[in-house]
Symmetry: C2
Subunit: 202 residues, 2 copies
DNA sequence: CTCGAAATGTTTACAGTGACAACATATGGC
DNA sequence: GCCATATGTTGTCACTGTAAACATTTCGAG
């Protein structure tokens, strides 16, 4: 697949737009460019130089905003989790909460993985930063809280911890199997499988 | 040459052992060394040169046996699937078949992921070779057949296709979540979660 | 057995990567 | 207005996968 051109030319979203040396908000621009690349070429191995070129900046400039590549990827992963959480919350509301909302949440999880395979994979593959306690408003916790909330309604008699883990593992497994091409993406099928344990055919 | 060594010295399993130029069965030796490396350093990014050094051979020698690095990784992934299938079959037999055997199969799946995280991840991350039809005796199919066999007994009334997918996704999700440090490895917990859908507490 | 073709391994080299150090330029507080 | 600091650039290094040319061993045909 060719090799050059295509430069996405994602600049900062306004800020200063100095035009020359300084970029305005490079950190945000780099993350945006990274997300774009992840959304387009699935297998393409996101490199620092390509990213810098997208933003129109020298390769080593990125090191002023991220200690190393890992940190950059961590930032992208974090954004991925945030988006996932937002989509799940949205699905929950749209379905009117309750068991139906809970199921919709699960389906949104798998759909996100299907729509943004590279971002989803990155988001979950990143090593947990150790200091990942129960506070901190990063997206992962939002998603997990929704999960805990819904699981009580769907399976009243069961230990909520076990049920939550079951639900999470189920959708995560579906997501990964779809990403890795072990199974095909099929929303109806996903709904059916999720419904097997968590009642409510609706 | 051959002054240093230090290398792990994984040679072929007998063959000729020419001693000098020719290695005997380099392909097998490389795969063995690769599996060893995968089993030891989880995060360590398996490189061609390191692998060649382990085997005591020049880096480019590997290209006589694999078209490129991808092909080598594919071979390792295949071996991983084969081992997974073997462990599952073993677990099934040890539990005496039936529903208990089916559950044991699922637990073995997760345990394998926990015991060999890098190999498990590699095995499932590799792109499917396209020509992955229902024949071919490679490990993946063995595992899937076991799955189909067990699912009928565990959930008599349910569409076996849906049930099989459910079971697979569940254990795969648990495996991936453990690999990515989202949850802790806890065999009892895994058994409990698997038992939630697939009855039989015992 | 001899001999040349094929298989296997080596050396050298190249383009691409993440990262560091030294240097250049813009920004903002005094 | 001036200088400390943040930000961006150029040059370089070690390392990676891999291609090309060369060396050695093995094997089958005469």
């Amino acid at each position: 697949m060719a090799g050059k051109d295509n430069s996405v030319n994602i600049k900062g979203d306004g800020a200063k737009a100095t035009g020359a040396y300084h970029h305005g908000d490079l950190r945000a621009a780099v993350i945006a460019a990274g997300l774009t690349r992840l959304a387009e070429g699935d297998g393409a191995e996101l490199g620092l130089r390509a990213l810098a070129r997208d933003v129109g900046v020298s390769a080593t400039a990125l090191y002023r905003h991220f200690p190393d590549k890992e940190a950059l990827l961590d930032a992208l992963a974090d954004e991925g989790l945030r988006r996932l959480g937002a989509l799940q919350a949205q699905a929950w509301l749209k379905a009117g909460g309750g068991v139906a909302g809970f199921k919709a949440t699960g389906i949104a999880y798998v759909r996100f993985a299907h729509d943004e395979p590279a971002l989803f994979r990155l988001s979950f593959t990143r090593q947990m930063p150790e200091r990942y306690t129960k506070d901190a408003g990063d997206g992962g916790e939002v998603a997990y809280n929704l999960l805990r909330a819904g699981v009580g309604e769907a399976l009243p008699g069961v230990d909520p911890d076990t049920a939550a883990l079951h639900a999470w593992a189920l959708v995560h497994g579906l997501a990964m199997l779809i990403l890795d091409r072990r199974i095909e993406w099929d929303e109806a099928k996903v709904a059916e499988v999720v419904g097997l344990t968590f009642g409510g055919v609706g």
